[in-house]
Symmetry: C2
Subunit: 462 residues, 2 copies
């Protein structure tokens, strides 16, 4: 079986933990694997790593590759040059499979940012889905509504099949009264955005109902590169698979998702899935409370002290703090939009930025300088590069650095330092077994990440 992971989302409702360039699917909510990694692991039961294809915006490509490589380097990631919603993403990935394997295989399509804990029951559902997919159905996984949620789309079932149900229609997010009726009727399921079917079935439905997407697929060429060309992708419409295919096709069947399911679409949903203490609180990090109830308090770095509050969410990160009411945690999106409008960096990046070779944290910035701490993971190296507008000064804090500077090699030990002049060709490398931590002082009139010329890069960024 083949699998597709849809990993294009941004998750602004989980700001400040989630950022434009490091969104929800890359985050871990249990200090272990990220949601993406959990998703990938879940699919490994059914598909070989090389048959699990993750599709994402090209700006997340490196970070996604980095996380999946930790599980299995055989993974495949397709980079979208721009966001086009789920229909073009799914169609393009199906085209990838058509070019690389038999199109009669069954494919399981899942979002990258849902939390499913009960793997056994999820697997049972997949087995049921396989039966229907083999019969030529496009199968959707429906979640039995637990309460009248107004934030999800619903699916109305028509009649029972031997396995699962025939689908009558997909319906959009209802108002609360309608949601209550749906819940009472027993004929509606939440649309979880998980689909299964034969590659050939999906493609024929795309051909029938989403011609403007389908007709561009033949121009895609994955033979040398897994990044989709802008010139092809921009011609496709921005449309969801639900609108493009599901609502139109008469071949849709539904199986009930037997496992637990949470889309972690808000801070409240994070609170809901976490274990609570005796006061109903979910506390993470350096937190002190007094008379606090039914709240989520998250500290990433600094001391957070809270007194006398109930039903609130308070999240501290290195460069942004967010507080809101528990049952209005969807409003975080509004704060995020406000910050985006004033071009706050906190919507884009974390203070700590992950790179294929490790990560860096900006410490402080002033007139003509910027200081960073840089961690280079064992056996990793930064590209051979130069800067036109800044010099750099490196002090080794932990480990040992191998520095390439204008064709010469220098070993810089803990406590030692080296100067990198403007325009000098250089590379910071860690060929050793221990993490390398350095402090970098950048000096110059123009200090920006875009002042970089890459000559060689082992991560394909040159």
């Amino acid at each position: 079986m083949k699998s597709i992971i849809l990993a294009g989302g941004s998750g602004s409702r989980l700001w400040p933990l989630s950022r434009d360039e490091y969104p929800k699917q890359l985050l871990s909510f249990d200090e272990k694997e990220s949601l993406l990694q959990k998703t990938f692991n879940r699919l490994c039961t059914f598909s070989k790593p090389s048959e699990i294809v993750t599709i994402t915006n090209v700006k997340h490509y490196q970070n996604i590759k980095l996380q999946l490589n930790k599980i299995d380097k055989g993974n495949v990631v397709i980079g979208e040059p721009l966001g086009k919603n789920t229909a073009p993403a799914i169609a393009s990935t199906l085209e990838y499979f058509r070019q690389n394997s038999a199109d009669d295989d069954i494919v399981l399509i899942v979002p990258s940012d849902h939390l499913i804990k009960n793997i056994e029951d999820f697997n049972k559902t997949v087995e049921q889905g396989k039966i229907l997919a083999g019969l030529g159905y496009v199968v959707t996984f429906g979640i039995k509504p637990r309460y009248p949620e107004t934030g999800y789309g619903y699916i109305k079932i028509d009649k029972s099949l031997t396995t699962g149900f025939k689908v009558e229609k997909f319906v959009e997010k209802p108002d609360i009264e309608t949601a209550k009726k749906y819940l009472a009727s027993g004929e509606y399921f939440w649309n979880g955005g998980i689909f299964m079917g034969k590659i050939s079935t999906f493609l024929s439905e795309f051909k029938k109902y989403a011609t403007d997407t389908y007709n561009n697929l033949s121009e895609l060429d994955f033979s040398s590169d897994s990044k989709i060309k802008y010139s092809v992708y921009e011609k496709m419409p921005s449309i969801s698979i639900d609108y493009a295919v599901m609502e139109k096709s008469d071949k849709i069947a539904l199986v009930e998702l037997l496992s637990d399911w949470n889309d972690l679409g808000s801070w409240q949903s994070i609170y809901n899935v976490k274990d609570k203490d005796e006061n109903g609180n979910v506390i993470t990090g350096k937190v002190v409370t007094d008379n606090v109830k039914n709240s989520l308090i998250y500290s990433q770095k600094e001391v957070v002290a809270v007194s006398g509050l109930e039903n609130i969410i308070l999240v501290e990160t290195e460069d942004a703090i967010m507080a809101c009411k528990m049952d209005e945690s969807q409003s975080v999106k509004k704060l995020y939009e406000k910050l985006k409008a004033i071009e706050s960096d906190t919507t884009k990046l974390h203070k700590t930025v992950f790179r294929p070779w490790g990560y860096y944290t900006c410490m402080n910035q002033g007139e003509g300088y910027l200081t960073k701490t840089i961690c280079v993971l064992p056996k990793q190296k930064l590209s051979v590069q130069s800067h036109n507008h800044r010099s750099e000064h490196w002090v080794v804090l932990e480990g040992e650095a191998l520095v390439l500077l204008d064709g010469k090699e220098y070993n810089i030990k803990s406590g030692e330092s080296i100067d990198i002049p403007i325009q000098a060709k250089h590379s910071l490398q860690n060929p050793y077994d221990k993490e390398l931590k350095i402090l970098e002082v950048q000096k110059g009139n123009y200090i920006s990440e875009d002042d970089i010329i890459r000559y060689e890069d082992c991560y394909g960024r040159a």
Copy 2:
């Protein structure tokens, strides 16, 4: 006229802005002068700077001196070797005056951390107080109650004098019912802790009612040093002037304080004295709000985003975040005590620590290293010092440094760096007109502020 400023308080209820080693009186709540500086300026109307004596715990001596020197270098600060409440502090300062001037002078005694905006009306009150002080009264300034406050002591007046009132008694913090009766009666004032009288009057009352304090005064010797000896001070009882003298003396008169008055005893009282926006909010720093009302949101450094909350206080500092209910802001003291119990550094110091020569901020700490940014103010220098357990590496970020290293002088320009080996005698100096900013990397097995040997220091710390 002489003046005494009582500056020993810690102000834990204003944590995390206020810290043990940098308390409330040193803070500014309007980005201008600190409360101490405002207090000093207020007294300059009546007393020469050299006749305004500030008494404080010796741990605040340098910071208080630093702030007052910015107004007038003629100021006098007395350092207490330990905290002994207001009676010993006042008696010792009176003894200082007796040793240095005529004891028939009038002295005005004020706390260092009260906010008074209407100086003209304050001055009128002092003029009234002078009349009574001249007649041999110990004068207290009473604040007309505006509401039934249970957090203050009250003073009951007896009968009118030509100016002010005779005092019948001092009463302790009442319960709410009693406070309401006091308010309705019109015979009670809040005890603002501001006193006036002739030095001789005060001393004779101390002699009469506070013998255990008074009898030690003759051992104080301010002829060479303004720091009180531990051996003398430890013999005095820890007691307030109210208990020791005011409640017992029959020479107490009261004048009504005509000006505004706020003791800034809680975050709510800070909120009360500040201008509000159209939503009733007091917003400081990088703050974004949506549907927030009647709240105080303070950001010192990072982005703070708040949605859907009312009547809350949220304070962000470099290393601690505090959130509480507006009308329970006294509870901050409890959070502070909890943090103190787990020995959180955030109760003691700010991340940015002020020194006579400037300030430093700890950036990050790891295995065998600590990094700091250090700012040396123009014309200032750090002591000539050495460290037994760490080397240092300095990179100049802004300005230019004069570095003394083992008897030689080095000029280190912006972008340049220098190594200070273990045990080397060194001094970082800024003889120039521009601020000097450097980045310091400390390396060693034992890194602590106490690993310092000072050979020369222009601030008397050697």
